[in-house]
Amino acid sequence: MQSPLTTEVLFLIGPIPVTTPVVTTWIVMAALILGSIALTRGLKLKPNRRQAALELLIGAVDAQIVETMRAPAARFRALIGTIFFFILFANWSSMVPGMEPPTAHLETDIALAGIVFFASIYFGIRQQGMGGYLRSFAQPSLIMLPLNIAESFTRSFSMTIRLFGNVMSGVFIIGVVLSLAGLFVPIPLMALDLLTGAIQAYIFAVLSMVYIGSALGGETGQANEKRS
């Protein structure tokens, strides 16, 4: 059985090896981009059925952002929405025969958690200024400084491992059952995998919202507003 920690090199571009998860990621990205372009063509003030369904979807994403982050949705809609839909379709890409979810490999998850890590720094500095953001590490007191710094790394690490472990274990179990029992037996497990994939995409998006929202400095921000 192939180790889930290694990746298969598909072809080489010059000296750079291109692995299977990278190609799957490109396919998912292309499907998402082309799908969004096709679905958002010809938007009208008076929506037809397709546009109404899209607006419902985006409205649900916006409501989640406003409820979780207590911030205007427009600034984070692109980032959070893209993270959610990318992970959702990446997890569900295992339904296409011959494709394996790119999130079942550690590299994709590290990249996604890295995006959230740098986004929280970016939004934190933009919201509170450089000094305010650095000072937020010493909240509520200076003793917490090493813990807060360590936390910002460990939570990225735990996000990586969580997504990787959940998706990879699903793929792995299906592989084991398929090799033990035969063709149609893993179908209920695949149905469970659809559910797990959707929940993991939701959880990753919610956790990114929580982490970026905490970098915005909820209480301190409100306190500053009250003072001014």
Partner: protein, 81 residues
């Protein structure tokens, strides 16, 4: 199959088996508490279930860590050459 590999397989099974007990109990308690809260306050079901999902993900991470350790032991064991 030498002794190191045999112990590694046993260690992987023990890691997942024992490591799943704690998160299982914890998730059970969390879901029970959330059910109780929803039964008392059905109008807060949305907020409660969102917080529950995030909390379950946090608890579940412990079991996932055990799984990753088991996979490291099986596929990337530093003591097997």
């Amino acid at each position: 199959m030498d002794l190191v590999q045999m112990t590694s397989v046993a260690a992987a099974a023990v890691a997942v088996g024992l490591g799943a007990i704690g998160p299982g109990l914890g998730e059970g308690r969390a879901v029970a508490a959330a059910m109780d809260a929803i039964a008392r306050q059905p109008e807060a079901a949305g907020t409660i279930s969102r917080t529950l999902f995030v909390g379950l993900a946090m608890i579940e991470t412990m079991a996932i860590y055990c799984l990753v350790i088991a996979l490291l032991v099986l596929f990337a064991n530093p003591f097997v050459h």
